[in-house]
């Protein structure tokens, strides 16, 4: 699964990224007592981006991460400042290309795992031989 990375810079704040959040929970059941405290708006920049200096938005192409809920055309919010850990979804550099995979760090080595049985795992002897471009923190999935 490839990733198209912007020369598309985050222009957060230029467009208004505030949205009204529904005060009523979507799930069925008892109404949430929290709805009385609805305070109107949520700033998506603040909600989604912790460190704007090191955060980029990338667009995903391909279906190798389908089972992780990351589909073709989705955007990932990627924080380069985070340390890649076992289980993270990362943007890695493979053969000069940016690719999105789940990072597995085990005693026997490092694996870049696809979340789709049709794609093989990619084994790397150690983390030091792998360039991790950034750690994905959120997926903006097109429903």
């Amino acid at each position: 699964m490839g990733v198209t990375v912007g020369p598309r810079v985050i222009d957060a704040g230029v467009s208004l990224l505030s949205v009204l959040i529904s005060p009523v929970p979507v799930a069925a059941g008892f109404p949430s007592p929290a709805q009385d405290y609805f305070d109107g708006r949520i700033d998506l920049n603040e909600h989604l981006i912790k460190d704007i200096t090191s955060t980029y938005v990338v667009r995903v192409s391909g279906d190798s991460m389908e089972r992780a809920g990351i589909s073709d055309g989705d955007e990932l919010i990627v924080n380069r400042a985070l340390e890649p850990r076992d289980g993270c979804v990362v943007i890695a550099v493979l053969d000069g290309e940016l690719t999105v995979k789940r990072l597995r760090i085990t005693s026997t080595g490092v694996v870049l795992q696809a979340e789709n049985p049709r794609y093989p795992d990619i084994r790397v002897p150690s983390l030091s031989e792998l360039t991790i471009w950034g750690v994905a923190t959120r997926c903006l999935h097109h429903v």
Binding site: V9, D11, A12, I52, G96, L98
Partner: protein
Amino acid sequence: MSKPALMRHMPQIAHVDVNCFYASAERAFDPSLEGRPVVVLSNNDGCAVTRSPEAKALGIPIGEPWFKLAPRAKEWGLVALSSNYELYGDISARVMELLGRYSAWLEVYSIDEAFLGVKGAPAELLALGREMKAAVRRNVGVPVCVGIAATKTLAKLANKWAKHNPAFGGVCHWDSVPAADRETLMGRLSVIEIWGVATRLTKRLNARGIHSILDLSRADPVMIRDRFSVVMMRTVLELQGTPCIPMEEERIGRDQLIFSRSFATAITTAHDLRQVLSVYGQQASARLAKHDLQAKVLTAFAATSHFNPNDTSYPSVCVPLPMPTADPVILTRAAHALLPLIHEGVKYAKAGIMVTDLRPTGNQAPLSLFENPHEERHIGSLLEDVARRYGRGSIGLGHAGIRSGLDWTMKRDMLSPATPPTGTNSPSSKPPKLPGPRRLPLVRGESRVELLDAGLDVVPDQAHAFHAFDAAGGGLVRFPDLEPGSFTGFELRLGAEDNDDVHSLKHVVGDRLRVLAGDVDAKFLQGVHGLRVQAGPGPGSSRVDGDGLSSEVPHEAGGQLGFAAVLAADEQDGRRGGGFAHALVSSF
């Protein structure tokens, strides 16, 4: 780095710059470019403006036209990329923000380099340099080199050394290198290599037996001052380790202009920051106009202090402008795009704007569709003319027109040098009664600030705003915002201290103000019935039509204006501070 160590050591200067900036910025997003020769071409794909080391190794000179490179590009495996100034501006802002976390004393020198004030033991400085290098690489994705020394000139030299000698690992602390090695290096490098020595001076230096940087560093500063210039003397002193080139906060770089300051008192509200950004927007406009440039991209940023790690915030926005422009209104509005990112209550220690993708004015005639209503009316040059005559702060959009009374005052004078002091170098055209920058007798304090900033959002309070202005002898011009239907507006403020001033002010702005008003009048005649204006006491009352500063003051309390423009000037005699010229042009 422990506090006591910080206190013991003299401050030093770190020079940080991005290696092959444009090429590195492109590579950050396309790893396939790694290791390949890359050139980035100038506007309209003209010439190679950045070369990766691989491209340099091919012998491609800087500025080589693309048509000369194109035939051999395939054979070389050369990748040529068009400039993407939005990207470079964004990456630059990120790099600068990150560096700002390491020092509250940051001078952004150009789009890809900065000076930082640093303190510490040699080992600590080296560690700091390495940490900055690693952080920029990791967090932003571009490689930098760092030179640290006692002076700017030496820091730049150290950085150059770090770039060329892999043994440094990209970070060179000048004082940590054995003196013998430093002398060898300086002896090997021609004076042309040093920062601040122009090509044409090299010959003259050579004629005096000064060939290498080492020669220059051993020259007698006084002789250098006498034979060359104070500037050259500073270079000599800097090479000898005496800091002579002060940190500056604004400088013309290759492709961008930056206005950034640290505040004496931290800014904690978007409201205050709005004022700062307004000032920057207009400084940028003035500077662009002075150099006959227009910008295509504006980046605005703010940052908390590095010394306050518990409460950090580094918001920034990169705003592509609708057209290449030097228009103060557009630039100011673009800068205000930062405001939604400001956290109320957080202490911002500095803020700034950067304009990039600069191009000469009038290079290409814009389609009339994109013509800008403010530029049509020459608002920018009007502001400049008034500022030249009456000093910075005598006029401005919104808050930028207020010279004093705001509590976010800068460590250094916020407003760039205005008119020269009394007597010296005064242009003869200047009215004799106005010796340089003066305070305007306007209301000071928060209440007026609130009113001024209110914009059209608070139309009901308009009457009070105007009243305050009149009482204080100020004036207000409001002109429509870019987007039709938008309710935000900009105030253009004029002020003058006495009657003579009013006359000369009229002289400066009169005709053009009329044009401004007439223009708006025709277009928005029907639009302002909801606007109520109350003017202060005056000698008479009348509705004034758009035909100029006609010595009449509208004063019907709460009088409803059935027309789009009010222009008035109080020419009443003797009332101290009572002379004013004001105008209102409004529309929805």
